[in-house]
């Protein structure tokens, strides 16, 4: 059972990385082909730029999720280097739980935003409902929150930032 769970979680992590890679690749290709189309064939994709901007949002959250996994967020962190190992453990328990709580609240309010957009029938490119494209916000912050909580409870697993 536990090995199965572990395999599942490994699979999910792989999917997450794959999604990140695919997003960046298609961003590069879409942005470049827009330039080519415009200059060589005088043609413009009306959906190109809005789509690219949504992809930036997705990259932001997927990147932040990955950063959480590696314990690699930008921190000010001037004091913890002067702490003993034990004190550092306690301090990271507190700071990570705090950050986890904050992300939980963020996820909740992001979910409310998505719900509002769903109720208001907001459209992407005047065609599709936009809310599925916004789901990355609550999901992303939710996962970050869980990861931080896990970090707080079982200690820093990833490597610290240089």
């Amino acid at each position: 059972m536990i090995t199965k769970l572990k395999r599942l979680s490994a699979l999910l992590l792989q999917m997450e990385d794959l999604l990140l890679t695919l997003l960046l690749t298609s961003m590069i290709l879409l942005a470049t082909s827009q330039i080519l189309l415009r200059n060589l064939w005088d043609y413009s994709l009306s959906w190109g730029d809005p789509t690219l901007r949504l992809m930036v949002l997705w990259i932001t959250l997927l990147g932040a999720m990955a950063a959480t996994r590696e314990n690699n967020h930008i921190r000010i962190d001037l004091l913890s280097r002067y702490l003993s190992v034990r004190a550092r453990r306690i301090s990271s328990l507190i700071t990570d739980s705090f950050a986890s709580l904050v992300c939980g609240i963020l996820a909740w309010h992001a979910a409310r935003l998505v719900l509002f957009e769903m109720e208001d029938n907001a459209l992407f490119l005047d065609t599709w409902p936009i809310w599925p494209f916004q789901l990355i916000m609550p999901i992303g912050f939710g996962i970050i929150s869980l990861r931080l909580l896990l970090n707080a409870l079982i200690g820093n697993q990833g490597q610290a930032v240089s």
Binding site: D17, L18, L20, T21, L24, T25, M27, I28, L29, A31, T32, Q34, I35, D49, L52, R53, L54, V56, L57, I59, T60, L61, L62, G63, A64, M65, A66, A67, E70, N72, H73, I74, R75, I76, D77, L78, L79, S80, S91, S92, I94, T95, D96, F98, A99, V102, C103, I105, L106, H109, A110, R112, L113, F116, Q134, M137, L148, S162
Partner: protein, 424 residues
């Protein structure tokens, strides 16, 4: 309220992720003003409404790809072949190469690790004093911050636009504004390098070597020309230049030169997007905290308070420099930008400082802050990378620090330098 502020500061100092601190302060502010907290999510969503942000993942990926390939080696060889014959040649090579490299990769310490490792042995081998060489590579780690397409220039424009008080400040304006101040720094450091190496024997120029170096770097050579030329001539929008850069670097390093295998590509993509996620998540939440400040009218309150204490623009600028230098040693540049620009810009405008000029002053300070003793980040990175005591690095960087301080004063008190290209 003060208690909560102090608690957040302590959490930050003990290593809570910066984005969580910013988010918490925004949410507390809105909560106290009886405003629905989903405003924080609404502000965060504006990430998907700013066209210029597309440039950030694309440039960052290109920078990571370049630093993982053989490009740093070729860049050093090329500049050495072209500039090595001058007095202080190798030193100048290092400065120019680092500046170029930093402009493309941002000053995240990558320059010291990727280029410094090549340059430091070369410098000492060529007879430069150890401390001179150490000082040079450490200083160069943040040199180039003022040249396009460095991310901090882009971010400053984005943040300043959000405040709605800076007229029509644009990324293009920031790119133009950074050129002369950046060149001033480069020139002064070059002068110091020539002076310091006056007793070293000169190398002769070899056209054979130059030609072969050019040939070797043939694929990368068009990059700065196309990108910078494209941006400065206005042919490309910023995000287009970023797309061209990312695509070109990808094709060259992976498919033509094959220095990076397709199998390693996902790892590099992922690594670069971790940094992008870290930066943009902070930016998105700082949009919310900035929005709280605007909603509560805090910038103008702050200005009124400070104006009672500081009467002249000159005094204000001096205090600003001191404050930013200290800040720069403690915060990384992205954090400093999102935290301080929303507060400083309205004050500076109140004193009649041009928003574009303020941006250049801000970044110039941050650049020096990277190696300001005792806690500038690059001092530690260099100490770690070159296995030298931090104390020695303090000493080694001192002359460089003083020279750039002089440059900073010129940049601060002579706005013409930053503004002439923008206004022409």
């Amino acid at each position: 309220m003060i208690f909560i502020g102090v608690a957040l500061l302590i959490l930050a100092l003990f290593g809570a992720p910066l984005f969580s601190i910013i988010a918490a302060s925004a949410m507390l502010g809105f909560y106290r003003s009886d405003i629905d907290l989903s405003v924080v999510a609404i502000e965060f969503y504006r990430i998907a409404e700013m066209p210029v942000l597309l440039a950030i993942p694309l440039f960052t990926f290109a920078g990571y790809l370049l630093s993982e390939s053989g490009a740093p080696r070729r860049l050093v060889r090329l500049t050495q072949a072209l500039l090595g014959w001058m007095p202080g040649g190798l030193a100048i090579v290092s400065l120019v190469a680092c500046a170029l490299f930093t402009a493309f990769t941002g000053a995240s310490g990558v320059t010291i690790v990727a280029l410094g490792a090549l340059l430091y042995p070369a410098l000492t081998h060529a007879g430069y004093r150890e401390n001179f060489s150490l000082g040079l590579v450490t200083t160069s780690g943040s040199l180039g911050l003022l040249f396009a397409p460095a991310l901090p220039l882009i971010l400053y424009a984005v943040i300043a636009q959000q405040l709605g008080i800076a007229g029509n400040i644009t990324v293009d304006a920031m790119f133009l504004a950074g050129i002369l101040p950046g060149l001033l720094m480069l020139t002064l450091l070059t002068g110091w390098s020539i002076y310091s190496s006056r007793s070293l024997p000169l190398e002769s120029f070899s056209s054979e070597e130059a030609l072969s170096a050019i040939k070797q770097a043939a694929w990368e050579l068009p990059l700065p020309i196309v990108v910078l030329g494209g941006i400065y001539s206005g042919y490309f929008a910023i995000s287009e230049a970023a797309a061209v850069t990312a695509f070109y670097v990808l094709v060259v390093e992976v498919f033509i030169l094959r220095e990076i295998s397709l199998r390693n590509l996902p790892a590099i993509m992922r690594k670069s997007m971790v940094l992008v996620g870290g930066i943009l998540v902070i930016l998105g939440l700082s949009l919310a905290s900035t929005n709280y400040l605007i909603d509560a009218g805090i910038p103008s309150l702050l200005f009124d308070t400070i104006q009672e204490l500081v009467s002249s623009k000159l005094t204000f600028l001096i205090l600003l420099n001191i404050f930013l230098l200290i800040l720069g040693t403690m915060l990384d540049i992205f954090s400093a930008l999102v935290l301080m620009v929303p507060l400083l810009l309205p004050i500076a405008i109140g004193y009649g400082v041009d928003p574009v000029h303020l941006g250049i002053i801000f970044l110039a300070n941050m650049q020096i802050g990277y190696f300001t003793p005792p806690v500038g980040m690059n001092l530690f990175i260099a100490s770690y990378r070159f296995k030298k005591p931090v104390l020695q690095l303090y000493l080694a960087t001192l002359p460089w620090f003083l020279i750039l301080l002089a440059a900073l004063l010129i940049i601060t008190y002579w706005p013409w330098l930053s503004l002439v290209l923008v206004n022409s």
